[in-house]
Symmetry: C2
Amino acid sequence: MKLLEEYIKREGTVKPGNILKVDSFINQQLDVRLFVQLAREFARIFKGVNPTKILTIEASGIGIACVTALEFDVPVIYAKKNRSANRSEDVFSAEVTSYTHGRKYEITISKEFISPDDRILLIDDFLATGSALRGLIELVNNSGAELLGAGIVIEKAFQTGGSELRGRGIRVESLARISAMSVENGVEFCD
Amino acid sequence: MKLLEEYIKREGTVKPGNILKVDSFINQQLDVRLFVQLAREFARIFKGVNPTKILTIEASGIGIACVTALEFDVPVIYAKKNRSANRSEDVFSAEVTSYTHGRKYEITISKEFISPDDRILLIDDFLATGSALRGLIELVNNSGAELLGAGIVIEKAFQTGGSELRGRGIRVESLARISAMSVENGVEFCD
């Protein structure tokens, strides 16, 4: 998506350790005018899949998920992150390893809000190693709901998450796909 | 706001310890169709105040803040919660005590995203003791930005946060104000 690539070129900065900092429009400051454009693009790409709910993960996924949910006219549910394992019988849970922070955490969602009748579209801001997305997929699978696919704002296509998930037959659609990045040369996109 | 009070009556449950559970539309599942109505009400109440940014706190405030920001056509910034004190010179920080979880944490916002030129409207889902809101106000004051007021979805008016902040001259507008609640009798609203 051209507009998003321009935002990333203009406002993103690459930090050592393959960190792409996009705090000014996606992470800490949320450019809702851009979000509307991203949401319309997700709606176009996933036209006809008819989700009943959009699932994301706290915290920075929530904004883009909400604006996208307005396009589909369905509720958002978001998985919560917990430092300690939540063994409650009231939740579905999965383990996620944070690439940025280098630690493991548990994600959970209340069983009240996801059932075999649901058709779930995943929305998240980043896809790199795919750990968060694998965790969300595990939650959906455990619930018995149908997984329609995942809409990602920025994919680091030089990492393995996207290809591994597509290899499992999961529909993963990313609005910007980064083929390479470095502190020196900035960001390059896939064709 | 009548529609919101109906939602709370119908879907909210009161748990021991003065906890109001509204997970099905505000906290874990986000009813974005309702959020649009709440956002329009905030836009009506705060018509003419002309914020440059909306400030909220992760995680559950982000959704309602984003939908409200669409009404005002301004970006959202959100304060991050940290377990440990962040002494970085790049952030404004304040200490917050969580009523629900009974622990202290630090909230921070990058200095990049808030400046003396900003006119800040706070949006959050809950106001009870007011600790989170006091923390957000402290961030705004530290930044030198102008504080326009706070829009709250649900205020527990039987707790002291709202009256204390209004007593300091801060404009606090809540869409639903709960006068009393109990496990036995549910929720009652202020007139």
